[in-house]
Subunit: 151 residues, 3 copies
């Protein structure tokens, strides 16, 4: 059962749970962008201005600080979350120690959620620290996969 | 056979088919960007202007409305398609009802293709509706995975 | 054993190795962005300027040519690397010829690394050629999956 993609494999089941958590966090940033755009009346497409915006502000705006902050946060997630999930899937298949694996997933998910929080609250060096924590977890799993994989 | 990543598992086979469809749609937007850039002579890198552009327009341009629209569309795909595929892969492994699963995949793929179409045709509120449909499918699969996964 | 996601399946093991290689390359671009931002003092967030920047240059800068080039390169990776990994995972499960599969992975990984190199060295038409090579590999795998998958 070790190293199988099956919910009766505890490691895989934990991986699936934390993958869902970080994907929900990723999708949440899309919703936050929409909420910020509508409440501020800041849109990137003329048809959005017409449909959802104030009739007096009908031009796209590309430099609103609040909206751009959420967009940078979202892009940072895209740069890191898929890499974590791919690395994690391969890592599960190496049949790692269950407790070590669980802590990899837990630490990444917690650091990624805190990363979003401190990004929106404009807190440095916390954002940098959370970013390094996430990178370290992904790198650790990649190295462990490379030690098992043939080239 | 239920819940296995194997082409003789009908649910997985359907998932693989619709994954290919949405990935081809994603890659198509990359090609559309290239076509728009070359036909309009709008490039982001000086070396592209020199190699592919009009000798009279040798400066990068970052604010062409047509090119930027395709780029926003492409980024939106990156925000949603990998999340769907990850969620779908885990969902297949929960061993769902084949017909329910098939409709999840079909609705997402159809809504994502229509999303691109109405994005390029500048049609609102259709783009918002297609976006919500895609999000709902991904969320539905994530919730079903969370109900099976251990934490 | 053919078509199984197991490190004793040689095709999967090769796939896992090259997936790690391209993910490390993707994460490397994130580090390169950070290095360029810090050495040039070019940041996107006011709190980053305050924490890591020169006290005389406290405003975010969004148009530094060097930083923007790395960022475009990074986004291009996001548009292509996850698609390759998803396509590759499904392709492994079709049970392809081991040698053909290995060359798909090798060519993609090599072309993607060279793509980054020539992007940063501003070399055209080499960047376009590497991009087409990567796309061709991903498309080839997607077509082979579509030939096996049910719809």
């Amino acid at each position: 059962m070790a190293g199988e993609l099956n919910f009766s494999n505890e490691i895989f089941s934990n991986f699936a749970f934390y993958t869902c958590v970080v994907l929900l966090k990723l999708l949440f940033l899309g919703l936050l962008t929409t909420v910020k755009r509508i409440t501020k009346g800041v849109f990137a497409n003329p048809e959005d201005c017409k449909r959802f915006g104030d009739p007096d502000k009908l031009k796209p705006i590309f430099n609103d600080a609040g909206v751009e902050r959420v967009r940078r946060n979202h892009l940072n997630d895209l740069e890191n979350i898929p890499a974590f999930i791919f690395a994690g899937l391969l890592y599960v298949l190496t049949g790692p120690d269950p407790s070590t694996a669980l802590w990899h997933f837990r630490v990444f998910a917690a650091a990624r959620i805190l990363h979003t929080l401190v990004y929106q609250l404009e807190l440095q060096p916390w954002r940098a620290i959370m970013h390094v924590v996430c990178l370290t977890v992904t790198m650790s799993m990649l190295v462990q996969v490379l030690m098992v994989a043939k080239y």
